[in-house]
């Protein structure tokens, strides 16, 4: 089993490298992270924290948008594309299970994402530390940012496989993936915001809202990074919601999302007749 997963993984990694996904993703991460780090350098003095802390705070906001986007872009073609090319039917006549195929692809794509995150945030982090100082706490925050970004990417990779299996075609899967991104990253927050404004500081805002926030992997990612580092919290202004929840909630949500989404993707994949 391990052998077959590794065979699929090695092939997918090679494909990611050949169609320049590894390079593109790393460049996108690096450019955005560098731009945000130096564009967001202003509040260091006002908040009394080092530049790396501010940089991590900016990059957290960046990652909320970019990690799901990159993951979905890598994942939407994974199953629908193979069906369209006719390759999946042939693969499935070999003694490899659908679960093994899925995990093999997941490991390769997650590796690509992890490489891009580490490169992008790492370079921007080093640049920030060199020009504006860093401390133990901000270095830990940077490492946490990279790790949680990979988890967030993993959740959306799996969600991408799910829509790839559900959609009849690669084009349809691309559309569904865009919808998924919009819902999780933009509309979910907007509707919660609307509810808070309507509720005006009532029961919903104090007791229900933080939990709903933690349910969304993108928000759980934000909460985890904010709650764990005081400086980052100051710089993002998200302390209120972060303090209303027990400390384990956001990490638990973000860690559980990738395996749960993978299980959903496996279920959807099982219904595909190549």
């Amino acid at each position: 089993m391990i052998n077959r997963i590794l065979a699929v993984s090695a092939t997918e990694l090679r494909i990611s490298r050949r169609n320049l996904w590894v390079l593109t993703a790393s460049m996108i991460m690096t450019l955005f992270a560098l731009a945000l780090t130096f564009a967001g350098a202003a509040p260091t003095g006002a908040l009394g924290v080092d530049l790396l802390t501010v940089s991590v705070a900016s990059m957290t906001t960046l990652s909320v948008y970019l990690a799901p986007l990159l993951a979905l872009m890598m994942a939407f073609d994974a199953i629908a594309g193979d069906v369209e090319r006719g390759g999946l039917a042939l693969m499935l006549t070999y003694p490899v299970s659908r679960g093994e195929l899925l995990i093999g692809k997941f490991l390769a794509h997650l590796g690509t994402l992890a490489f891009a995150m580490t490169t992008g945030f790492g370079i921007a982090g080093i640049a920030a530390a060199l020009s504006g100082g860093a401390g133990i706490e901000s270095i830990v925050a940077l490492i946490r940012l990279i790790g949680t970004s990979v988890l967030l990417g993993g959740a959306f990779l799996a969600l991408g496989y799910m829509v790839s299996a559900l959609a009849g075609s690669a084009a349809g899967a691309a559309g569904l993936a865009a919808g998924l991104w919009l819902i999780f990253v933009v509309l979910y927050d907007l509707s919660l915001l609307g509810a808070i404004v309507y509720d005006d500081g009532g029961f919903f805002t104090r007791s229900v809202f933080p939990w709903l926030l933690a349910l969304n992997p993108a928000d759980a990612f934000r909460l985890w990074n904010v709650a764990a580092a005081e400086g980052v919290a100051l710089a993002t202004g998200m302390t209120g919601a972060a303090n209303a929840l027990p400390a384990w909630v956001a990490p638990a949500s973000l860690i559980l999302w990738p395996p749960l989404a993978l299980a959903l993707a496996r279920g959807a994949f099982g219904r595909v007749e190549p």
């Binding site: 169609n19 090319r85 006719g86 390759g87 042939l90 499935l92 070999y94 003694p95 299970s97 007749e273």
Partner: protein, 300 residues
Amino acid sequence: MSKDAVLQVEKLCKRYGNSDVLKAISLSVRPGERVALLGHNGAGKTTLMKLILGLTTASSGEISVAGLAPGSVEARRAVAYLPEAVAFHPALNGREQLKLFARLAGEPTHVVNALLERVGLDEAADRRIGTWSKGMRQRLGLAQVLLGRPRLALLDEPASGLDPISRHDLYSIIDEMAAQGTALLISSHALTEVEARTDRIAILRKGELVADDTLAHLSRRAELPIRLRLTAKGDAAAEIHARLGGARVNGASVELICHPDEKMDRLTRIAALGGLVGDLEMTPPSLEDLYRHFSGKDRP
């Protein structure tokens, strides 16, 4: 039906919505046997193969592959498949793609080199498949069929897109596999000299198996007419036509159509004409005539 068959299909039905794609198909293939599966596009050939591979499930009926349920891990180990218009990932090269299949099949990856050579791809193997011609991709598809000496091989339109030399290679590979005991089911939408080289011919028409026999038996059963063309000596065509009937063709010839069992009788009468006949040409029914007889002219 024989007990030692590698592939045994019994009263197999497949419905998609309201349409019956396959209606009570029964078919068996023994080790080393080459069976051609013929039918128009949409007759159900690919569906039958996908059912045997376990890629889709039957509405009713039974399939056994080497005594196993289709799609089970052991059955997948025993079966090789060449899809119609096979497509591989364009970013991989031939060697990498074949190595992946070898690893999935649990074969050592060094067998890949010999297989690439066997199908004549050893020089192209390190170029990306995206740059390959259709015929080359088809040959890579054949190479993966040869992995691990399958007990049953399903080839879906293997000859499509191949040039005559590749076709020749295809037959020799098919014959080699059969000689090693692999049972082969080879689909095609035409009956040509390729399919005529198989041991048995099965014809699907709109989801029904309308024939399953050797070529010789099928020809006898079809009783298709034989065409005789007599070229008259001088201007004797009119007299030949008057004595034998038939149809006059471009002034100097007469064409007769006769049943196989009347053939000898006709020839005797032609011989009796003696000097009137300059030449005689006899055309037995072609493979295409035979196929059209069984597959029916009413296309779906």
